[in-house]
Symmetry: C2
Subunit: 367 residues, 2 copies
């Protein structure tokens, strides 16, 4: 496209120099920070995630740390999901909504203790959001961005690498549960998690000055399993049906429309942000739903850079919110955010910049 | 550095194709959108701004539009500057602060009418900030991002270009005042403003589909004055002493520390966000202040990519928040955010990645 000028406004990561040494060629910007993406061979990097083990600099998954007397209270106020049974050391996937019930982020909430939580966020400013609500409600909390940068280890062989580093106990760690510990003097939190469906862990580095050391420990432990660099892979996450908030959602998308209704508990306290709106939407029923799209054609199509109209008999019925070549299906696939009157099994036309393309609506995940 | 992968997460602008045709080589990301920066010759682009006229795609200056019965009330609640005398058609520079009195953005507020305002923002998410406060206080407003993208015309000859396009009345337009009008069928707002001290205007395009047409009108009208493409120029803004919120400020910087105290009115209503904290800071006196730095050496130094420590007798006394080569002073200059115990005229050491450099503290602006 063009080069991005380095500025103080675009933050680097503790692992970036190591990523560069691995041959980093491309990056994205996410939470005002560099997200390393490709290392010269996107297809090879994809298959490494599917069949082996891959290590990702996902420092951009920043932490919104909430501490203080009212930390648990604020965590529940921000979360339309019941946290009353959440235990220290447990994580929960939570779609955060605004007062209108629109999804604004979908962090993993990590409960360290009653008075200390992390929201491990997607790409939007939750620090000022949470600070505004806390201050307006007069809560006794401190909201900060701590020096924490996750390194993800993903793929079917990830558990072997992590067990070799941390010990066999990690095999029993439940999904989203985590443990804070030291690794050769490096303070980390280890969690079973990661933005793929291939299994894996995230090592939250709690000292940015030790990025090189942690990277090398993982790289060496992974060598017997042919570990290599990678990144959250659009083809894999699309095949797996993972939602990208801010990509697959817009300023008017509620959780019920994008298969996140299962993470909303309508009986959370009445002072939870957005719950009144969410109850109303649930009662009336959402107007759109999210389905998969299988596009006709057997050649990789250009990436969608914006939502593209979906039409039926010349009328707009929804939007295609993402599109990618599936290496496993050998087909272009994507997501539809579409009127509930249109169902899986039906066909629609995608109004692509290069001309319209026929597509079949399917249930997700694709694989 | 490396290429940025185009994704749905990085928004393009209505002028971007035109910028590319002009030979765009570099860009920044700002408000999740592409900010075109260089066109192959940064020094030539700098001198064009200083001596002639330059056109900039500053679509990234997004508008937070507040409409509705309580719009004026919310505008004042968010602004620690007295808006009671602000008239329709008038703009005001406003440092927005959080409840702790920290500067979080510094938009130009455009008052269209009592029930319609735009905050033309710097690089941070004011939509969700404003939405949170409005909803928590139960105000009757709608907060949106309208289809509005500014094109700046800057430099001493900008007024000639704008007068040739819009008529001689623009010569009498006062600073930050604006007018909504049509230009050959293109809906725009024309304002005397822009992020330089070289004079100029911003044309707020109100229909993203007409970017190419507007770009060409300005380019043709500017041809007799040798107009060319450019961007907000770090050397010029630094020489001129303009503050870059989010660059020169951090999560703990109040307006009094960065020469923005003149835009704070301590007698705004008590329900204004942050005013209690700002009154306290004003009474106690801020602990830091912002001064200019003239670095020793006569060769352009590497750009600062993060804040760098300022020391005196080996003790940290502040931070250098930006650094650039001044073409007019033929010297590296920057800003210090430094203890008030250290004054202009004194010397400090800048702890640069390549070794320490001596610098003199001076009052701003440099020129």
């Amino acid at each position: 496209m063009f080069s991005i000028t380095p500025t103080a406004r675009l933050r680097t990561t503790p692992f970036l120099e190591m990523a560069r040494k691995e041959g980093l060629t491309n990056a994205m910007v996410y939470n005002r920070m560099v997200l390393p993406t490709f290392y010269g061979n996107p297809e090879e990097e994809y298959w490494r995630l599917i069949n082996g083990v891959s290590m990702w600099d996902v420092s951009v998954e920043r932490q919104v740390q909430v501490t203080g007397k009212d930390a648990a209270k604020l965590a529940q106020i921000l979360s339309p999901r019941d946290l009353s049974k959440c235990k220290p050391g447990q994580g929960k996937y939570v779609p955060l909504c605004n007062h209108q019930g629109t999804v604004i982020n979908d962090p993993i909430l990590l409960k360290h203790d009653e008075d200390r939580f992390w929201f491990s966020i997607a790409d939007s400013d939750i620090w000022s959001w949470a600070s505004a609500i806390a201050a307006e409600r007069g809560l006794d909390v401190k909201i900060e961005e701590p020096d924490v940068s996750p390194l993800a280890v993903q793929g079917p062989k990830a558990v072997e690498v992590i067990a070799d580093i941390f010990g066999d106990w990690v095999r029993d760690l439940k999904y989203f549960w985590f443990k804070e510990l030291e690794l050769e003097g490096i303070p980390v939190a280890l969690q079973r998690s990661g933005w793929s469906k291939q299994g894996g862990f995230e090592i939250y580095l709690k000292d940015g000055s030790q990025g090189e050391k942690l990277w090398n420990i993982v790289k060496e432990a992974g060598a017997p399993y042919d570990i290599g660099p990678g990144s959250p892979a659009t083809p894999e996450r699309t095949e797996s049906g993972l939602v990208s908030v801010g990509g697959d959602t817009d300023a008017h998308t509620n959780p019920f429309e994008v298969r996140l209704g299962q993470y909303v508990d309508l009986d959370v306290p009445d002072d939870t942000v957005g719950i009144q709106a969410l109850r109303k939407i649930a009662e009336e029923g959402p107007k759109r739903h999210q389905l998969g799209l299988k596009l006709e054609g057997d050649q990789p199509a250009p990436l969608g850079l914006a939502w593209e109209d979906l039409t039926s008999d010349g009328q707009k019925v929804g939007d295609m919110t993402n599109c990618t070549w599936s290496y496993r299906l050998q087909q272009n696939i994507g997501y539809a955010l579409i009127s509930r009157e249109v169902q899986a099994g039906e066909k629609v036309m995608v109004q692509r910049p290069g001309g319209e393309v026929r597509a079949e609506l399917v249930e997700m995940p694709f694989i």
